[in-house]
């Protein structure tokens, strides 16, 4: 009984709310958003961070000059810290200013001039703390003082300062810092004037420095980025690269104060995991107040956040959906956002249903519980979810999955007629409607070309279908029959899947990184699709590294691949098929090693054009070429499904913006009421268990007594 009381006391200790609440009692009713992360972020330094799970944090902390409008579609850029959109000027090799309509070939370089708003201030941070004489408080830091500092919060003094243009230029320089291995350095070195050479200069400079010593970038000017005045800076781009503005909306181009880097470069900092990678310093709506990537990451409202207001206009239907209810309100709308590490889906889902997480994705394990597919094939919430007031939002992602053919392969590759027909036949045979239904629970739409919906150039309806694989019938698209695929296969020289003449069966090879039971079902599906044509498919499963190696050397034949948009421009998808960008030998992103001279010529023309009918015409032709050549089987555009509780507001999916947390609002009182209702403790099973144990112990006790007495008698 004593143990029972102790157990109860422990369970009730410190919790006024439900016994199963994972949160401290003090947090109840606060304006906090609760979420989770399944994998700890690797990098939070804006020069290094590129993964989706990292940008969840960096997007809220760092502010590049531009951002995507939260509500408008198609996606639209707007100023964030900038006073307006960048002023772009085009120049000839002799520096002469050219008109905006100048052809790309005539433009030697472009200049992007960005003016930022005055008065923006950084989050509180010890790097800005000052002594009374104005010198930095913690630089140089007394080793004895540092010895007493374990957590970042142990730095008691903090400061702030105004954001200046030099901070943006400093970050552009950081992209070339060899110590940071920025993932976009290679790409940007192609565009930003002098960045490549700058990288070499810095590589030389770090050689002469101890590993953690401060590399003062101020001492090394960069030709392609200059400070014009306190609030204005210019970036010089080689030739014409209109897509550069999209990069200006990513954390790679957010400001970093040199004080922070100098602060973190001191001896003893790295050993404590104090670095820009783990303790970011930004001007954004939130700052990282707690960073324990093994347990919890807590974003706190930045007390110095500048004027920023909820948008007053959006798409038609946004007002009716309540998305404009907060129009004009000062951002951010939350005080904190707490992210806890949840590696497994089951506990995450359970806690979401208990109201302890505000939103959730849908894993394949929980899909049936959460979603019902209606008679029209459209997904809808299950009655259980509806009862809880949970809301569903869906969005087609700006991504594509495809099955690629190695165009250098002797059997499948090349632009010759037989190989093309073979690829077209396979494109018809791979039934992605079935794939989406079986493996994605309907969360995807069959792809018709390289451009997903939401990207300029994507067409819908009859004009949007891939005529090689589909035909338009009674107002809807219908996949061509397997007979047509077989006919194409025969025309390719493989009637019934056997080589004409020799009669040898055609065997093709799928190279994949997939392994394990889940992958097996998918790979079996592939085999089955090829069998429809009488073609044998051999799956060559391999690990990530060997797979990458095969792709680089051009040894793969058929492979699965995907691409997520960096920015909503067709160039970011069509460059995946641009010849000089091939994977083989050049390590580009054209994994199929596709090269069609006409496509390549049109790509060069299209990439620098502004959106408009002329660009659309070029895109249409390019899409037509790749549909005909079929270097990819256009598989599907994935759809993301998200669930959120009724107390979470302003949850419109925006797949381009990464700073959306500031628009989110929660109703803490409502959440509290639901949590109490859904989590009433049930004690009787425990009582019953103890009773049963006691009953089971009784005969044992009697037997023990009997034995003791028997022993005494004996």
């Amino acid at each position: 009984m004593r143990a029972w009381l102790l157990l109860s006391a422990l369970l009730l200790a410190g919790c006024n709310g439900p016994a199963n609440s994972p949160y401290p009692a003090g947090q109840a009713g606060q304006n906090i958003l609760y979420s989770a992360f399944s994998e700890r972020p690797k990098h939070l330094d804006p020069a290094r961070s590129y993964s989706e799970n990292e940008v969840v944090f960096t997007g809220q902390i760092y502010e590049p000059p531009l951002q995507y409008h939260y509500l408008k579609r198609p996606y639209e850029l707007e100023p964030l810290t900038a006073t307006g959109m960048p002023r772009v000027s085009y120049h000839a090799a002799d520096g002469r200013v050219l008109p905006a309509s100048a052809p790309a070939a005539a433009v030697a370089y472009s200049v992007y001039e960005v003016r930022i708003k005055p008065g923006i201030r950084y989050q509180p941070h010890p790097a800005f703390a000052k002594r009374p004489d104005g010198s930095p408080r913690y630089v140089p830091i007394d080793p004895q003082e540092l010895a007493g500092i374990v957590r970042f919060a142990d730095f008691k003094e903090t400061g702030s300062r105004e954001l200046v243009a030099a901070d943006y230029v400093y970050q552009i320089k950081r992209l070339a810092n060899p110590r940071l291995s920025s993932p976009i350095f290679g790409l940007m070195a192609e565009y930003i004037v002098g960045l490549k050479e700058y990288g070499a200069t810095l590589a030389q400079a770090v050689k002469d420095l101890p590993r953690e010593a401060y590399l003062d970038l101020e001492r090394y000017p960069l030709a392609g980025a200059e400070v014009v005045d306190r609030y204005t800076y210019r970036v010089k781009i080689k030739g014409k690269y209109p897509q550069f503005v999209y990069w200006l909306a990513m954390p790679f181009f957010a400001p970093v104060p040199f004080e922070a880097e100098r602060f973190y470069s001191q001896p003893g900092m790295m050993e404590r995991n104090f670095s820009l990678d783990w303790q970011p310093v930004g001007t954004g709506p939130f700052y990282l107040a707690e960073n324990d990537p093994n347990r919890v990451m807590r974003l706190q409202r930045n007390p110095h956040y500048h004027d920023d207001f909820y948008p007053a206009e959006g798409e038609p239907g946004d007002r009716a959906a309540g998305l404009l209810a907060d129009a004009g309100k000062r951002l951010p709308l939350l005080d904190q956002a707490i992210y806890r590490l949840e590696k497994e889906d089951i506990p995450y889902w359970t806690k979401f249903l208990q109201g302890y997480y505000d939103s959730s994705g849908i894993s394949s394990d929980t899909f049936d519980q959460a979603i019902r597919i209606g008679p029209d094939g459209q997904p809808d919430l299950s009655p259980e979810m509806r009862e809880r007031g949970i809301e569903l939002s869906t969005a087609v992602r700006s991504s594509i999955w495809y099955v690629g053919f190695n165009m250098r392969d002797p059997t499948l590759g090349g632009l010759g007629e037989p190989a093309r027909k073979l690829r077209q036949a396979i494109s018809i045979a791979l039934d992605y409607e079935e794939f989406i239904s079986i493996f994605l629970n309907g969360r995807g739409i069959p792809a018709q070309g390289p451009l997903p919906p939401g990207i300029y150039g994507h067409r819908t309806g009859e004009a949007g279908i891939n005529p090689v694989v589909y035909r338009w019938h009674n107002g809807r698209m219908v996949r061509r029959g397997i007979d047509e695929a077989k006919r194409l296969l025969a025309e390719a020289g493989y009637p019934n899947g056997r080589e004409r003449g020799s009669g040898r069966p055609l065997t093709l090879y799928l190279d994949t990184m997939a392994s394990g039971p889940e992958a097996k079902a998918r790979l079996d599906w592939y085999r089955k699709q090829f069998e429809k044509l009488g073609v044998q498919l051999v799956v060559r499963a391999t690990d990530y590294n060997r797979f990458q190696d095969k792709m680089l050397k051009g040894n793969a034949q058929i492979f699965e691949w995907g691409w997520n948009a960096d920015y909503p421009d067709p160039e970011n998808f069509l460059f995946l098929l641009y010849g000089p960008n091939r994977k083989m030998e050049l390590n580009g992103e054209n994994a199929a090693n596709y090269a069609n001279p006409e496509f390549d010529r049109l790509f060069v023309q299209m990439k620098d054009m502004a959106n408009g009918p002329a660009r659309q015409a070029l895109i249409d032709r390019m899409v037509e070429i790749v549909r005909h050549d079929a270097p990819w089987v256009f598989a599907y555009y994935p759809k993301s499904f998200g669930l959120r509780h009724a107390w979470v507001k302003n949850g419109k999916p925006n797949l381009m913006a990464n700073n959306t947390l500031k628009y989110r609002r929660v109703e803490p009182e409502r959440r509290l009421a639901y949590q109490a209702q859904w989590n009433r403790a049930v004690w009787w099973p425990l009582l019953l268990l103890f009773l049963l144990l006691a009953l089971a112990a009784l005969p044992a006790l009697r037997a023990y007594r009997r034995r003791q007495q028997a022993a005494a008698k004996a």
Binding site: G186, R272, N273, K351
Partner: protein
């Protein structure tokens, strides 16, 4: 401490050095047979826009640009010394683990993460040991009765169920259905007690079957020995005979199995920590292997070996405590 025992410990510590070098060599060789430094760079640089120069720069920056075991370009002894193996291995022996490839300090990470692991593993171990021994002794006490039979059946049933089932079942019943404890999570200090109850309970129950069966066998073997008959002949109660005499004499095999795991309790459990959201060391090595972070893999394998050797040493030492006849010299 007796001088003989001290000499024994010193000798064992020296024995450990070649073992650790061997373990390190094997880890190193195995890791780099599967991965090249280029592979590691590619994983760390991500899937997009990775160029050959970026890979080269990453390798230089992380010290993976040297040959693995033999440097033909170096002079004299440096041919062996100026290599990746020596460069990355020597510091381990002074427990300087350096930085992971993602920049975090491995030593700090281990010292931070071992406490949550210990918070689960130590109570599970202690409560478990107590429960298993008590249950086994109870079965032995009621040996050859229906209670013993029922106990053995229960053990076999418990043994036959996957550990994952206990975790999911426990979370379902206590967390989801009855709302008594949080499904997962962790807080340091007293506030974290409510998070520990379920994983400890699950840990104890999942080990109950096989451990109790094992201990029952040990005790049954002891119970037919002469000293037990003598104890009974002296008129001692069965309870005293079992809990004092039999338990005391069965300590050597119990310690063999139990003490060796004590140092490794720090390392935690992969599945339990993963499902209960415990920020421990359980998944540190697996995550590192998946991320191809050689610095962590090497450090953790080295640490695991050291702790295992320490466990064996402690086991030997513990024999002297429970059996005065054992002398370590």
């Amino acid at each position: 401490m007796m001088p003989g025992m001290l000499a024994y410990i010193v000798r064992r510590v020296f024995y450990a050095i070649p073992i650790l070098i061997g373990v390190n060599l094997i880890t190193f060789a195995l890791f780099f047979v599967v991965n090249t430094p280029d592979d590691m760079a590619r994983i760390h640089l991500g899937a997009k826009h990775v160029t050959a120069e970026a890979i080269e720069r990453w390798k230089v920056e992380h010290g993976y640009d040297k040959p693995l075991f033999f440097n033909p370009e170096a002079a004299g002894l440096a041919k062996l010394g100026d290599t990746l193996f020596v460069d990355k291995s020597l510091k381990l022996f002074v427990f300087d683990f350096g930085q992971a490839d993602d920049g975090r300090d491995i030593g700090r990470e281990i010292t931070t993460r071992m406490w949550p692991s210990l918070a689960i593993a130590l109570p599970t171990f202690l409560v478990g040991l107590l429960a298993y021994i008590s249950f086994a002794l109870t079965m032995v006490f009621f040996r050859a009765t229906y209670l013993d039979f029922a106990g053995v059946v229960l053990c076999v049933v418990l043994m036959s169920i996957s550990g994952l089932f206990y975790i999911i079942g426990g979370q379902y019943l206590l967390g989801k259905l009855w709302h008594l404890v949080p499904v997962s999570g962790f807080e340091p200090g007293l506030a974290g007690l409510k998070f520990l109850l379920l994983p400890v309970l699950v840990g104890v129950i999942s080990g109950l079957g096989d451990s109790s069966r094992f201990y029952r066998t040990l005790f049954l073997e002891e119970i037919h020995k002469d000293y037990v008959r003598t104890a009974r002949a002296k008129g001692l109660s069965e309870r005293i005979v079992l809990f004092r005499h039999v338990l005391g004499n069965a300590m050597i095999p119990i310690l063999t199995g139990a003490v060796v795991v004590i140092p490794r309790l720090f390392l935690g459990s992969l599945i339990v920590e993963s499902f209960f959201g415990i920020p421990g060391l359980g998944s540190y090595t697996i995550d590192a292997i998946q991320a191809q972070d050689f610095a962590i893999v090497r450090a953790m394998v080295f640490l695991g070996s050291v702790l295992y050797i320490l466990g064996l040493l402690l086991t030997d030492l513990s024999y002297t405590l429970v059996d005065p006849r054992v002398r370590l010299e």
